[in-house]
Symmetry: C2
DNA sequence: TGCAATATGTGCGATAAACGCACTAATCAT
DNA sequence: ATGATTAGTGCGTTTATCGCACATATTGCA
């Protein structure tokens, strides 16, 4: 039934488009053919179609994205009122906190940053920006998102998601991860240290749904910073008050 | 030859996706069928494919975008180093200027905002954000972009682009518009007043290419503000210095 | 320079998918 | 209630897609 009423050529084209997600700037048709597993001729037709429709441009033999995709992304952001309702609140609390605050949602088996505070005093940003993706299991953002799902879905998620050892500290024990997620659901926040990147820690708190999907607010800092109890408490407090402010 | 080597079903699917560009939040299948001109059954297959692939979600009978599209858009932004190289510069000059600065590029027959300054002291933003689109003819951004094209393309552009009277002041004379564009090319900036929105004026200056496509920096303010010579000069100066800073 | 490896362009027959009509069912507006 | 709009579905026809095979072009390296 998954294949009924599904336009397979369109699905393949979308997969070509997603090859450019990760920030891979330039891709040749042969690379796309390999990344997707499609026949060269198929990949070629799809690439040329994307070029014809203005989503890709070809220079020599590589394709790259054009800004056209931003028009669709902007449609998402404005239709959900991020510019007017969300961004100013993130900015305000980030200013007070003197740190980055980001809003993330779930996209399949990963988390995706949807909005991020922009403050003039920002030190060099850690590098997560709108559209960046994160794994669900070894991050505070991901664990809080998993905690917001339904109970019976959590088991399915856990059995499907693949564990990847990103650092020495990455928890590879599903039962242990499960209890962390359940704990996050109970205490209303997730805190994960070192599991995604050594020396980094993240805090995430839940906020209301956006377009029927759960969302979280999160911040990241060095382990050193969040290991000071008062710093941690202040961050959690800011996130919680920001979350209250943007009950959606 | 345009239709050779083109996956028509994929192209149709992309057109469905583009229905969500404008910030239309919710669309039913019937609306999409009408917007695209496709048969209902065709529109249905394409919508379900988009849902299946996580780009749309269905609630009751309407479809809306999911944040997944941001991953692709983020791929564009990061592969062009906007987060690291462009954004801080826009922020810095916007802070000094106490006004918004935006980077725009051309997407077919329209301009599209690609980046925008984010400063905490920003007054209520005028509402243009990343992904917003503008017509080319009645805006400073558009005229500067047209001025950056090749001469022989300008004629083709002018004959193809459709004039639309957006305000009483919108210039509807192609020859007159052409001379404005040529003037912009010569003097290195475009200045347009009232033609897009009464009471608003825009200034745009050229910057280097981004991925082989020309780009401009621009700012908007009220007519009152820019009609003061020193205010105008200061804005133009800021834009020009910002443009120098981010020679790409 | 020359050779091997890789990338790209293209024609075509077999196959599979998309098309769109026609009909039914469900929902909405008044 | 009822007319209008929307959604779901089956199916024969048509058409696009598939993927191989062959030809060409480019690149990288010895």
């Amino acid at each position: 039934m998954t294949q009924k009423n599904n336009a397979s050529t369109f699905a393949k084209g979308l997969r070509v488009l997603s090859c450019f997600e990760t920030g891979r700037r330039d891709l040749t048709m042969a690379e796309i053919s390999r990344l997707t597993g499609f026949d060269r001729a198929t990949a070629r037709r799809l690439c040329l179609t994307l070029e014809d429709n203005g989503y890709l441009q070809k220079e020599d033999r590589v394709f790259r994205l054009t800004p056209k995709i931003l028009a669709v992304a902007g449609g998402y952001l404005t239709s959900n009122d991020f510019g007017r309702a969300v961004q100013p609140i993130l900015n305000r609390f980030a200013e007070e906190f003197e740190g980055e605050i980001a809003l993330a949602m779930r996209d399949g088996d990963r988390a995706i940053y949807v909005a991020r505070s922009a403050i003039s005093s920002a030190r060099v940003s850690i590098g997560f920006s709108v559209g960046s993706t994160l794994p669900l299991l070894p991050t505070a953002v991901g664990q809080m998102l998993l905690a917001r799902g339904l109970d019976n879905e959590l088991d399915k998620d856990l059995s499907r998601l693949n564990l990847e050892k990103l650092t020495e500290a990455t928890d590879m024990n599903l039962a242990s991860i499960r209890s962390k997620i359940e704990q996050a659901a109970v205490q209303g926040y997730a805190y994960v240290r070192n599991e995604f990147e050594m020396g980094a820690a993240g805090i995430a708190v839940p906020i209301g749904n956006i377009g029927a999907s759960p969302a979280v607010l999160a911040t990241t800092a060095s382990i050193n910073q969040f290991d000071k109890t008062d710093e941690f408490d202040r961050a959690l407090d800011v996130l919680r008050r920001a979350a209250m402010s943007l009950r959606i």
